[in-house]
Subunit: 202 residues, 2 copies
């Protein structure tokens, strides 16, 4: 790997963390350069435009997300364990050290929800994929008999994401120490109402 790629990677690492705090728009080339002890122009040369930087930050964040949340969770057995792993690893992700400002995508979602352009498009794509992972995991669980077949995977994914957003709100804005317990309880209730009858009384 070339030297340039190394610094570019270092820039993206730092930029991802910074963007989790101040957003993709609040992310500033000058501040980022200062943090990395680089000159503004030197850093800028890696990306040629701020929008390109934002896109790469999003891509970088997505790559990390896949490695630390999705891939390990997919390794779990189908049904409840896999769904639970997705949820638990998402919780851990929002608290992970490279994200001092919470989940980058939650921040970006609110920031970009009415700001058309390629950055928004990319984010929408990622969010759909993420929800798609939950939907698919749910469908596979139904096929395996872990959940009863009247369960609606898309509704379930939507609801689980709501639990995640509520946790983000309670924990980050309200600094509520019970946020995590609340999120788990909500998730359990959601999961409980989806498990197949045979599993319910074990």
């Amino acid at each position: 790997m070339r030297k340039g790629d190394l610094t570019r990677q270092a820039i993206l690492d730092r930029a991802t963390g910074l963007a989790s705090k101040v957003g993709l728009e609040g992310l500033t080339i000058g501040a980022l350069a200062t943090e990395l002890q680089l000159s503004k122009s030197g850093l800028f040369a890696h990306f040629h435009s701020k929008e390109a930087l934002q896109l790469q930050v999003l891509d970088h964040g997505a790559a990390v997300f896949v490695e630390s949340v999705i891939r390990p969770a997919i390794a779990e057995p189908r049904g409840e364990p896999r769904i639970r792993a997705l949820f638990e690893r998402w919780l851990a992700w929002t608290q992970s050290s490279p994200l001092p400002g919470g989940c980058l995508f939650v921040q970006a979602a609110v920031e970009l929800d009415d700001r058309p352009g390629p950055v928004r498009d990319r984010l929408v794509q990622f969010q759909r994929q993420w929800l798609g992972v939950i939907v698919t995991s749910m469908e596979l669980g139904i096929d395996a008999g872990a959940f009863h077949n009247v369960a609606d995977p898309e509704q379930f994914a939507h609801d689980v994401y709501g639990v995640m957003l509520a946790y983000h709100h309670a924990s980050r804005l309200l600094r509520d120490p019970r946020a995590e317990a609340r999120a788990r309880r909500a998730f359990d209730a959601l999961l409980q109402s989806a498990v197949a009858p045979a599993e319910t009384h074990r």
Copy 2:
């Protein structure tokens, strides 16, 4: 009412809508002045600092929220009707014309969650009050026998807010036409699991 108060009100009206799109930080005095066909300095004189403007925008938004969501909902009879009214009016609020960018508080919550200061403090206060309204409405419903007494009002409020945030995400970022139906279904499920047994089989 003096002339100055009138324009100040007009400024806050417009600023609230603008902030719902671009956030309280993205809200810019120059852009706001242009929209209102005022000079930057003339507008600035009403607030003396940007932070003061942000605080007043928050206050103004909260006042409108109380009038259009909380007060009418509180007028409904205790129990299910009141809780449902809170939820339905919140849905309508996020789509109301003065808020082209969705709920101002959702935007602000994500933006300020790790930006300490008086603006954040004010927002936290409002959010606690809002959740408190749901909690109290739930408690009153339990007292009236509409919900069974094992229901946890704080957990319920937390969960309902999650449904609201998921709706905001699905509708605003993903532009999912099924967002509203999903939100209602999630809310109904939440409410169903709280209603007293006598009410369940009617």
